[in-house]
């Protein structure tokens, strides 16, 4: 189990660094392992280029590893910096089943 978790964290760091590289508007990425199914990687990306909407927050499934034997799922939740402050202050709900417990901040390399 511990190996699975370290594998997903390793993958989370890899995806986060690629996203930092392709999108300069991403300010910070958080990995949220709590309650996630085995092999599901949940990232929250704080992004100042997205428009804030009133609709409930919905993650997007990147469909990264379809059909592979050791497939994993990458779920990314995009939030604005203001939304992230509200989430951290318990004033805005994460998607159902998502939790900040045990979250890991992944900082950009070389920025």
């Amino acid at each position: 189990m511990a190996n699975v978790e370290s594998d997903t964290l390793k993958l989370a760091r890899w995806y986060a660094q690629r996203h930092y590289k392709t999108d300069a508007a991403i300010e910070e990425v958080f990995y949220l392992p709590a309650n996630a199914p085995e092999r599901e990687i949940r990232l929250v990306e704080v992004n100042d280029s997205i428009a804030e909407r009133s609709a409930p927050l919905e993650p997007i499934d990147f469909g990264v590893d379809i059909g592979s034997a050791e497939g994993h799922t990458l779920m990314v939740l995009d939030v604005t910096p203001a939304q992230w402050k509200k989430i951290a202050g318990n004033k805005l709900a994460l998607p159902g089943g998502w939790s900040l417990e045990g979250s890991v901040s992944i900082r950009p390399r070389g920025r």
């Binding site: 995806y15 690629r18 996203h19 590289k21 392709t22 999108d23 300069a24 508007a25 280029s49 997205i50 428009a51 909407r53 609709a55 919905e58 993650p59 997007i60 499934d61 990147f62 469909g63 990264v64 590893d65 379809i66 799922t73 990458l74 990314v76 995009d78």
Partner: protein, 169 residues
């Protein structure tokens, strides 16, 4: 490509055909931008249906679509880069980074994201007391798309991304 993707791709391709007609006839920028925004939004949604589940209802999907292509396996990425006209994978990855601000600007053309105050290709704004109409407005993004090499390349890649979708979606 699954059945859901096929349906979304067929609609994307139909919208793209109209976009090409508008381009050929030199239609007003607002009309071309309107169709371009719709094509990119639907292309992203067609892609994210590959999981078999509905993607989020939000308009934010074109930038994530480009990122998702970058997140594919090395072999897939090389294949996609070649399909979209890039000779080398790292050229494709660097291109995604450089074109992302323009892709965000395209996303924000959707009235729901442009908000009451912002330029959009469909309705006069600001909504409470309009001062501008899309038909007569000079969209900065139009200049970026048509008067820069990066913009023209983005248009070409979008054309290819629609046409070659069944080979990588």
């Amino acid at each position: 490509m699954n059945d859901y993707q096929r349906l979304w791709w067929e609609q994307t391709r139909a919208d793209h055909t109209v976009l090409l007609l508008l381009r050929q006839h030199g239609a007003l920028p607002c009309h071309q931008l309107h169709y371009l925004q719709m094509v990119t939004e639907k292309l992203g949604k067609a892609y994210f249906w590959r999981t078999g589940h509905a993607p989020p209802r939000s308009h934010v999907s074109f930038v994530r679509f480009l990122q998702a292509l970058d997140n594919r396996s090395n072999a897939d990425r090389a294949h996609i880069a070649a399909l979209l006209g890039f000779g080398k994978v790292h050229g494709f990855v660097n291109w995604i980074s450089s074109v992302t601000p323009l892709a965000y600007a395209l996303e924000r053309l959707a009235p729901a994201l442009a908000g009451d105050q912002g330029p959009n290709p469909e309705y006069p704004w600001p909504r409470p007391a309009p001062l501008r109409a899309p038909a007569t407005f000079t969209f900065p993004i139009w200049r970026d798309l048509t008067e820069t090499g990066q913009g023209r390349q983005l248009l070409k890649v979008i054309d290819l991304a629609v046409l070659r979708f069944p080979e990588y979606g």
